[in-house]
Symmetry: C2
Subunit: 213 residues, 2 copies
C-alpha cells in the first residue's frame, strides 16, 4: 500500500517519536511505500488565512470556503497545500499520529485539516459527494494517539468521557465525511507517566497493529 | 462583569465580524468591561513549540507539559502567552466566538488553548485541582459559533451528529475541566448560505443572549 504518515509531535526523542520510528521500520519491512508529513519538522503553517491563495476569487472580502473552492479549481493554492493534496491523492491509506491535547488534535494538525481538506478536493457539497460518495472514497485512515490521562478517566463513565466518542469528531465528521473508511484508533492511555517497560509493550502493540494492516 | 472576548475569524467584513461588532456594542451598553483577543488580527502564534519557553526546564528533551509547568512556575513563558494568561486571570467571563470548521475550532483557537491553558494556571493535577476544584473556578464561559451545515445535519439524528455533543469536548473537557462554568452555546446554523434577513435576526438573537448575561 501507499501510506501517508501525518505526524504531529514536536520532539523526536519523545515516546511519540519512538512510536513513529517503530512505524517507519514496520511499514517498510511489510513492503509499503511510505511518505511522511512531519508537521513540526517542516514547520507547517497551521493557520488558514488569505496567504493560502495565490489568485483570489474576491479581493474585497475573504471568504475561506469560497477561496478554497476557487483555489482548487484554478490550481492556485499555496505550494505547501498543493504538496499535501498530492500526497493525499497518492495515498491508499493515511495514518495520523498525535498526542491528544485537550481531548483533541494539536493545533498544527487541526491546521492541516483546515488548509488541506478543501471542498472540491475531499467533498463536493453541490453534487452531494459526501460520506459514502465522498471524493476520497477508496482510501482508509487510522488515528494513532497518546493521552496524558488514564484509560479510566477517558472511559464512557470517566471524568473526561469516552475518548473514542471525542475522536469521532475527527473519524466521522472529518474523515468519513470525505468517503475515507476509518479503522479503529490505536490509543496509548496514560503515556505521560508510564514505565519504560509499559512503553516498550505499547510500541510492540503498535507494531502488531501496523503489521496486520 | 469583566469579559474577555476571544475571536477567531479572518475577515472583519464577514457575518462573524458582524456578530462580533454587535457583541462589542451590546456588552459596552450593558456596562461590562471588555477586553478582546482577536486572534487573526494579532496573528496569534497557533503552534505550541519550544519557542514558547524563555527558560527551559530541560534543554536535551522537549516535553511540552513539563516545560509549561516550569514556565508558569518561573514566569518565563513567551510574552504573548503571559498576556493571554493575564487577560484570563482578569476576566469574570470568557466568550469564544468562532466559525465551526470540521465540527471543531479553527486551528488558531485550538492553538490558544494549547499554549495558554497550562497546567499550574488552569488546573493542578498533583493537587487534584480539576473540574469542581479547577483553578479557574468562579469564572464562566460561553461559545458563540456559526456553522456552514444546517441544523438538521447537526442534529442528534443528522448526518454529522449532534453539534452540541461535539462542542462538549471544548465545553466539558477543556473549560469545565478548569473549573469554569459553561453557559449553553449560541449557535447560528447554516450561516454559509443564509439570507440577509435571517442574518439580521440571528444578530438580534445574539444581542438578546448577551443582554441577559
Amino acid at each position: 500500500m501507499k501510506i501517508l504518515y501525518v505526524y504531529a509531535h514536536p520532539e523526536s526523542k519523545s515516546f511519540n517519536g519512538a512510536l513513529k520510528d517503530a512505524a517507519m521500520v514496520t511499514l517498510a519491512r511489510k513492503g509499503h511505500q511510505v511518505k511522511v508529513t512531519n508537521l513540526y519538522a517542516i514547520q507547517f503553517k497551521a493557520v488558514l488565512d488569505a496567504h493560502d491563495f495565490r489568485i483570489r476569487a474576491r479581493q474585497d472580502l475573504f471568504n475561506p470556503a469560497h477561496e478554497q473552492i476557487h483555489g482548487i479549481a484554478t490550481k492556485s493554492l499555496a505550494p505547501d497545500i498543493m504538496e499535501e493534496i498530492e500526497k493525499v491523492s497518492w495515498a491508499d491509506m493515511i495514518i495520523f499520529q498525535f498526542p491528544v491535547w485537550w481531548s483533541n488534535m494539536p493545533a498544527i494538525l487541526k491546521g492541516w485539516f483546515d488548509r488541506v481538506f478543501i471542498q472540491g478536493f475531499v467533498v463536493d457539497l453541490q453534487e452531494g459527494r459526501v460520506y459514502d460518495r465522498g471524493l476520497l472514497k477508496g482510501k482508509s485512515a487510522m488515528l494513532a494517539v497518546t493521552t496524558g490521562a488514564s484509560e479510566e478517566m477517558y472511559s464512557p463513565g470517566g471524568i473526561h468521557g469516552d475518548l473514542r466518542q471525542h475522536l469521532s469528531v475527527i473519524m466521522h465528521n472529518t474523515l468519513e465525511f470525505t468517503g475515507i473508511s476509518v479503522l479503529p484508533p490505536f490509543i496509548v492511555f496514560g503515556a505521560a507517566d508510564m514505565s519504560r517497560e509499559k512503553g516498550s509493550r505499547e510500541i510492540d502493540r503498535y507494531r502488531n497493529v501496523l503489521e496486520s494492516l
